[in-house]
Point group: C2
DNA sequence: TGCTAAAATGAAAACGGTTTTCAGTTTCAG
DNA sequence: CTGAAACTGAAAACCGTTTTCATTTTAGCA
């Protein structure tokens, strides 16, 4: 997920802040994740690179990086507090209910749904959180289901 | 939100469970709320009717009523864990990010989106979790936004 | 190169919401 | 009436998050 470390470093510097080794580790951990991640997941992942990293710093950094727009907070169905790289914020996640593998999909046109909801409720809708789940191709095959082309769409 | 107490009592009875005074108080508290409510809000509201009600019971009841489909869990603006009465129809929830008020919308046709996601990822999609958030009509007006008749079919 | 002030850090304590434990009460079937 | 199961509230335990605090790192500068 394209998170330009230099650019982020610049944004921080403009505030007199720094992109330290710890912050870099947190940033990378979120960027490399295949789905939204909770603070503890970030902690575990980032610790591989930066073993002396503390959980406190993870929280502080997630907060900070959200503030400057590098990350985005999302409400996951499981963990309420989860983070995704800001670039992926408008993509959505498909999670395999068998193996947990997650993929992003970006070709999502929610306009019709959002418009319908706005029409029905009168809300001015500004955000949507969508998470799909099902069976990934690998699990489908493993379960003996013939591997139909992805474009099949059924 | 129409929550038919008799029907719920029946659903509970089918499991050998009961709609006690306390559970009834919790149910009513959520049903009467104008927005999504947190466990503590339910506690406070239900206590007016049932002063000896304990917070523990509120948690247990909210869990139970969600399980049988009488309530729906949503992500509130402040509190992650919030509840709204579940409409009879299987719908989705729109939550106001200002005041927490929630509405259901049922005219949701996710087929296009789901198909697109399946096409892009190769997943066989079986479930979706969708939550919209934005600004409810009342908050929109309060914020000085002209009341465009979104709900009036405009 | 040293020095200073600000930024940043981790460990531990504090905090607050949720869950579990437990002993006692209510309800229902027989 | 009696026994078993459902149900309850208070208190304790639990767990994720935030705050506190003493220490370390860093950038700017003489």
């Amino acid at each position: 997920m394209a998170l330009d470390a230099d650019q982020i470093a610049g944004t921080l510097a403009a505030r007199g802040l720094r992109l330290t080794r710890q912050r870099r580790a947190v940033l990378d951990a979120v960027a490399e994740a295949s789905s939204s991640v909770s603070p503890v997941q970030v902690f575990d992942a980032a610790r591989v690179r930066c073993p002396e990293l503390g959980l406190t710093t993870v929280y502080r950094t997630l907060e900070l990086l959200s503030e400057i727009g590098a990350l985005r907070r999302v409400h996951g169905p499981d963990h309420c507090e989860a983070f995704v790289p800001a670039g992926a914020a408008h993509g959505h996640t498909v999670v395999c209910s068998r193996c947990g593998r997650a993929m992003e999909f970006t070709e999502c046109d929610m306009r019709a749904v959002v418009d319908a909801a706005a029409r029905q409720t009168g809300f001015r809708i500004t955000e949507h959180f969508l998470q799909l789940s099902g069976e990934c191709p690998a699990c489908g095959e493993r379960a003996g289901r013939p591997h139909r082309a992805a474009a099949d769409g059924a």
